[in-house]
Subunit: 882 residues, 2 copies
């Protein structure tokens, strides 16, 4: 467990790591924590307050970092301490008492007693009256003055001092010796009463006063600690690490499901190492991208080690679930292989020569509760290959050439990461359409076959070659129109929804501020985004614009400049656009750090308003150059309007919604009306003086030769009629989070599908989850019980059909198991839900109560139906009888 970040983390990861920690504390110490202690994260999220606060049974939440303007106003109004209602949907049922400290999280400035640290002027309490530095009266006066000063900005008579800070208590004695003396003499003095306290004691003291507290809604983003220091750079910092964390987080979710199906292995590999590594990397100086380079390297290494073990769990589980060992001599030696480097076109098990009659078996697992159709793509070396499903029917497939740029990226990074060069070079991507049952898998066979459509149809358009006025891309309901002469996206047309919207997409970079100001110098760095000006990136004149067309999808390839490459995909069966970008190495030979953004511009009249998710869950309204809680003084018109994005960002006007979903945590905004932008990558040359002590200048090295880091990623774009965007954002958003899991093996001679279970159904084969519910945890605990967590994916009022109470029938979810006992718990599964609700402190608020919130009721042990209200997440520990 760690003090996780609140901007760049996904709520599922927050829940997983908190569960790990809370259950450890419960088991090891029999303690159930009551207080959230997020003192360091750089801004605070609604999800932290209501989900990881109220829903884990906390009575209060404390932290230090809120916007300096906000803090000034709150000190003035004594509203640093509030009742925070983070969720519109759950309202007062998930509110929490929350305190922001008046001055960061240090002790008052001259009460600081670290060993070997003379950086503050904190005289010790000299109480030997024979010594010339005897200072008890002065020190006590200073103590009382500091206490009174804080009391003046605080409601009630109770204040809290945080006696410590980063890296302190290397030798606790130097602190306690002084604090002991202060307590003794201050209490002897009697003007204030001082005691060693805890946040729990403080919370109870505040509660006992029966004071009324102001209400706070939404969140505390973005965070600025002075006029030019907006901590919005870290929303994007280390995008490759952020992408890796998200990918592994999804893998961990799926791997636990497969581990559950197979049964937890008491002695062999399990998913615990991956759980530990993923928990730690949620730290506010980990996935945030604000750690030193060698620390980032270690985080990635730990995840990779955890992944390797989980990979064995998944392979063994697939073997077991497919009932392989009983039907054939096929052993675990010849186990399933997987391809964690598929993003850089590297997948050794698929890069095999199939011309000699070998068949490639691909198992495709779907961790979601609903049936799913998706296009799977794998690199192959043969041109003449085809795909069959497990019933022997050929499946539609499409070959796309592997580009030179991809081959280069693959070659370089395989060498850099694995220390060896790939043996072969695949020539194609083989794409095929897979259909997979919920919580189950399908099996596909790839084998040699002469095919008519050797590869996708290729259409190249050099800009000097202006033969057509427009180029139309997409063979399904969605079409994108490009200008032929410039190769630029101009229009988005959906023939089903009848949306027709002019769209432009471009890249720019912000020049990272180098901090050489004489007044309030501030560089852009790992934490802070501070631009020194915008530089649009024009596509190079001679840049090629290539369209690849085929039966499953069309791809538009654009080399934006020498270090940005982009592929835009329109799938025949989908109504959104998929954009894959490859950014880097960002050049720095001009001595200028760069922060790369992509902009999508439309004609939507969104009136400065846009929406970003809170940790991938609730969407929060953002208004450019405006804060609801105070009268904003705008000093950084770009950086000050950036917000963290984990799921997506959207804008709307009276008729239309433009939504963009992301594959990892990024920063984004709407800087002009009709426009959205995402920051994709950052390479900077100066430290921003917030502790990391390094410039954010990521490189990838082979031996000692390093080049700037290239980032590959995707985002997804959809334009809908007003009111219809949520469905895609929520349900497809969950599919982005949980992609299909692929495992490969070879079939030599035998007919695989006859000897194995080709299609696996984890649930009753006839059962499908409702579209508004996801299984976010299904895990066998160490004691053999199951941890089961369901999330309603929609907010109140978000979708006319899906923002309603949803039901999940557990008898269908676990058709072959008998539920002996089901216990609803707190979100972190460390206490019973009823007990948690019973103990919860009730706070007075200074505003009118809102209407009663509706939530799903208790689960009837006979019916075993779980009801979930919008945005509700319910956690159960299930005891099965076998």
């Amino acid at each position: 467990m760690c003090m996780h970040d609140e901007a760049t983390v996904h709520y599922i990861d927050m829940i997983d790591q908190t569960t790990l920690g809370h259950r450890f504390i419960k088991e090891e110490f029999n303690v159930t924590p009551r207080i959230g202690w997020q003192i360091d994260p750089f801004g605070h999220s609604a999800v932290q307050a209501y989900l990881l606060g109220a829903e884990v049974g906390f009575d209060s939440l404390f932290f230090a970092r809120i916007d300096y303007q906000d803090r000034a106003k709150r000190k003035n109004e004594k509203s640093l301490e509030v009742i925070w209602r983070g969720s519109k949907s759950l309202g007062s049922s998930a509110q929490i008492f929350t305190g922001a400290f008046p001055e960061h999280y240090d002790p008052p400035s001259n009460f600081y007693f670290e060993v070997n640290d003379d950086s503050t002027d904190s005289p010790i309490v000299q109480d030997d009256i024979n010594l010339f530095d005897y200072n008890v009266p002065q020190r006590i006066n200073e103590f009382v003055a500091a206490a009174v000063s804080q009391a003046n900005v605080t409601r009630t008579n109770h204040i809290m001092w945080t006696m410590g800070t980063d890296f302190k208590y290397q030798y606790a004695h130097t602190w306690f010796r002084q604090m002991d003396k202060f307590l003794h003499y201050v209490n002897q003095d009697g003007r204030v009463n001082a005691l060693y306290s805890t946040p729990s004691i403080y919370t109870d003291a505040k509660h006992a006063t029966k004071e009324s507290w102001p209400i706070k809604t939404d969140d505390y983003f973005p965070y600025a600690d002075h006029e030019h220091a907006y901590w919005t750079g870290y929303f994007t910092s280390r995008p490759a690490l952020k992408g890796y964390v998200r990918m592994m987080s999804a893998y961990y979710l799926a791997a636990r499901q497969l581990e559950f199906f197979k049964g937890r292995n008491k002695s062999g590999p399990n998913t615990d190492s991956l759980a530990d590594a993923l928990a730690v990397v949620q730290h506010h100086d980990a996935v945030s991208g604000t750690e030193k380079q060698h620390v980032a390297n270690d985080y990635a290494k730990q995840i990779s080690i955890g992944y390797k073990e989980a990979e064995d769990v998944v392979a063994a589980s697939l073997v077991g679930v497919a009932n392989l060992t009983s039907k054939t001599g096929w052993s675990l030696q010849n186990k399933f292989q997987q391809c964690p480097l598929l993003n850089i076109s590297y997948c050794p098990p698929s890069e095999v020569d199939l011309s000699n009659g070998k068949n490639l078996v691909i198992v495709v697992y779907n961790p979601l509760g609903w049936r799913r159709e998706d296009v799977v793509r794998i690199p192959v070396i043969n041109e003449n290959v085809a795909v069959w499903d497990s019933s022997g029917r050929e499946v539609e497939s499409q070959l796309l050439p592997l580009l030179d740029v991809s081959v280069e990226v693959r070659k370089y990074h395989v060498k850099a990461y694995l220390g060896k060069s790939p043996k072969t070079t695949p020539s194609y991507w083989l794409a095929f359409s897979a259909t997979v049952p919920p919580l189950g898998f399908s099996t596909y066979i790839v084998s040699s076959s002469k095919r008519a459509d050797a590869t996708s149809v290729r259409q190249e358009c050099k800009s000097e070659n202006r033969k057509t006025d427009t180029i139309k891309v997409g063979s399904g309901k969605l079409k994108l129109i490009y200008s032929g002469n410039q190769g630029k996206l101009t229009q988005y047309i959906n023939s089903k929804s009848l949306v027709k919207e002019s769209v432009q997409q471009s890249y720019s970079y912000y020049r990272g501020n180098n901090g050489n100001q004489t007044v309030k110098p501030q560089a852009s760095g790992a934490y802070i985004f501070r631009t020194n000006g915008t530089h649009p990136i024009k596509s190079e004149d001679k840049a090629t614009f290539t369209v690849l067309r085929g039966p499953l999808l069309d791809e538009v390839h654009q080399r934006i400049n020498s270090w940005i490459y982009q592929i835009t995909r329109v799938y025949k069966g989908k109504e959104h656009v998929e954009v894959e970008f490859m950014v880097g190495p960002i050049p720095i030979d001009d001595g200028i750090g760069k922060e790369i953004v992509t902009q999508i511009a439309t004609t939507l009249k969104n009136k400065k308003t846009f929406y970003t998710d809170s940790n991938g869950r609730d969407f929060i309204e953002r208004i450019r150059n405006y804060r609801k809680d105070w009268d904003l003084q705008v000093n950084e018109p770009i950086a000050g309007n950036y917000y963290p994005i984990n799921l997506g960002i959207y804008i709307k006007d009276n008729s239309t919604e433009l939504s963009v979903l992301v594959d990892r945590s990024v920063g984004g905004s709407s800087i002009r009306d009709g426009q959205l932008e995402l920051m994709l990558h950052r390479r900077l040359l100066h430290d921003d003086s917030r502790g990391v002590g390094e410039a954010l200048n990521e490189t990838v090295c082979i031996s000692k030769k390093c080049t700037g880091l290239t980032v590959l990623g995707k985002y997804y774009l959809k334009i809908d009629p007003i009111g219809e965007g949520a469905k895609w954002r929520r349900s497809f958003g969950q599919e982005i989070y949980s992609p299909l899991l692929l495992a490969f093996t070879e079939q030599d001679g035998h007919d695989w599908t006859k000897l194995h279970v080709p299609t696996f159904h984890g649930m009753d084969p006839s059962y499908n989850f409702p579209e508004n519910v996801a299984i976010i945890t299904l895990q066998e605990l160490e004691d053999g019980k199951a941890l089961f967590r369901l999330a309603h994916l929609y907010e109140v009022g978000e979708d006319k059909d899906l923002s309603v109470m949803a039901s999940v029938e557990l008898k269908n979810v676990f058709p072959n198991k008998k539920i002996k006992k089901i216990t609803e718990t707190s979100l972190s599964a460390n206490q019973e839900r009823t007990e948690m609700e019973r103990k919860r402190l009730v706070w007075k608020v200074s505003e009118e109560e809102e209407p009663k919130v509706v939530r799903g009721g208790p689960v009837d042990p006979a019916k075993l139906v779980v009801n979930l209200a919008p945005m509700e997440i319910r956690t159960f520990v299930i005891d099965f009888s076998y």
Copy 2:
């Protein structure tokens, strides 16, 4: 007790503070230390080795700082460890095994584990094999390599690592945790054997090898840590503090004698506070002048507090010894007053109006063992005053006008130090000749009396007023000849010894190096003397040259420049010259630090050779630009020839000796043949980067207004026929160390001398000490016993009459007490001498043995005669029966 300095301390102070510490350790822990641990002092003295080493019963002495050239040669020859014979006179009877560390006193460079200190590259021992920084094999290899490297410059198989350094072990655990691991794994490895050790264990291991060791004589001065870093500045740094320490050290010696005569006061004031303060100020960053200013201030304050208490002891003792309370109603209320600020002409008890019939009583105490005649001087406000002895005879006296410059100095410093301005301003110094018995006092009465010779005869010689060719000064055997037109000393003539030598005396300053070199930068600072050039100080043309003549002495007053004033005194009854100088405030408005020296130039052909004392005791031969122990590479021809002086410096040729004695620790040299120089004061503007972190820029402040510190001091000069200088240097040198102690009271009406004991004899009135022995300690211990320490003042062969065995008859020293038991002890009085000699380790040396050393034999309890061989110091604890 502290790790005392070895250059700027007097041997009597070294003995006193070591005795304090050793007796404390004995009483508190019943431990007798065996090892000298002088790891930090900046060079090492012969007296430390033989007196404070061998003579306190140590078996070895260790330290870090020796000249970098010396160290290089010793490493090469494996002669860092030697048998040191520090005394020519005591030879092998006072030798000690001594080790200089091969690289300062830190651990090897990457074995350094202080909490919160990342300044060295010292990885912890990571022995968790599951962690990526597991490094046991590497760290063990590094450990072995460091050990072997040191073994290669060390005789025998044993080496010592000093696991710590300045300010370390703030949290000992961080060190011990790593050392524990090293010991475990290194011994497991087996190539070397490592253990937690102590210097005693190490010494015993070295001794057990029966190795032969090289002989070292003389001392390790001066110390340089690189070509341009000679630590010879601190010989003079903070000359006022050095002067204060010396003055108080003498006062402490006398005060303990008086405390002994009166009997130690169990509950009232005693001399312990002064003892403690004087002990601590002997530290190598205290009297050395190398502490920060506020620390120096505290040292002075502690001494002053100790003095105040000792002043009460002295006053009460004089009251008791003079048998005052029994003869009169004179009570302790009206006690003796003393004048610690007499050096700045401030003495309130003597500055009283005697015209109304009041008499001033002056008690003059002589702490030496021989009868003494000296000229006493006190400030008075009346012109018509005369002095009578206790038998009613008028004593010869002389009035000297108090100069404007003295009045200014007095006014400024009384205000600065006491916070108040003097009430009166005396007009004159009244000088009179006092005769005082050994270990006793005489009483003198000053009262109103019309005198013929109102004041000294004044002769002013402006330089424009060239009426005479020469001016002769001195009315006794010694005459100084000045050139009339320039006012410069030209000749020294002694009509008794027939010495006639041309002499010049001048002032110069060295420009303190500011450390702005690009290669090996090094500033002159508190520790280091590095000059950037010499600047002769020419007397200003219009400067006056005034001679005051009278019956007791002649004074020559010279204003050298606006910030140097000098008075040269020739006493009718003495054959030496006394020079009082007043230097400061040294101007720094030109941005140049200055180091002020005075030079005395003669025609002596001393062939680069001069002699300086070791801590006021043995004289050591110094040869310019030469070291006996190695082939000197000369990089700093001034600073590299400076040596510490506590007693004096002399040069000689075939016919003549020129000796200069000092009143405090100073640095000095003979930079040209025939010449001697003393550094009197230093004011610098840069830190020399050796730890003090401040420039040596002393000021004196009234409120917030500060001016550069002015230093007042004296030195004494004598020219003798060859072979006759030692007598003056030794016997008069002891008088400089122990001046007469003055105490004042008023006689109103009664005839003081009739009602009191006017002359006190501490010893049998007929007994006088031989001229070659001093009582350096006479003190009542807490248990009622007496600590009694005698020092032979002469070296072997130094004087034809006095470098012989001397005898002291204790029955005459303690005529009224019966000695029940007398025990000779080690020098520090923590063990019996016989026991100490019995335990002493005997070492093999690689050179021929010298002839047997003669020392005084055991004291016969019946005869009670103590014999002392040259340079011998003998310490006794005496139990009296009362």
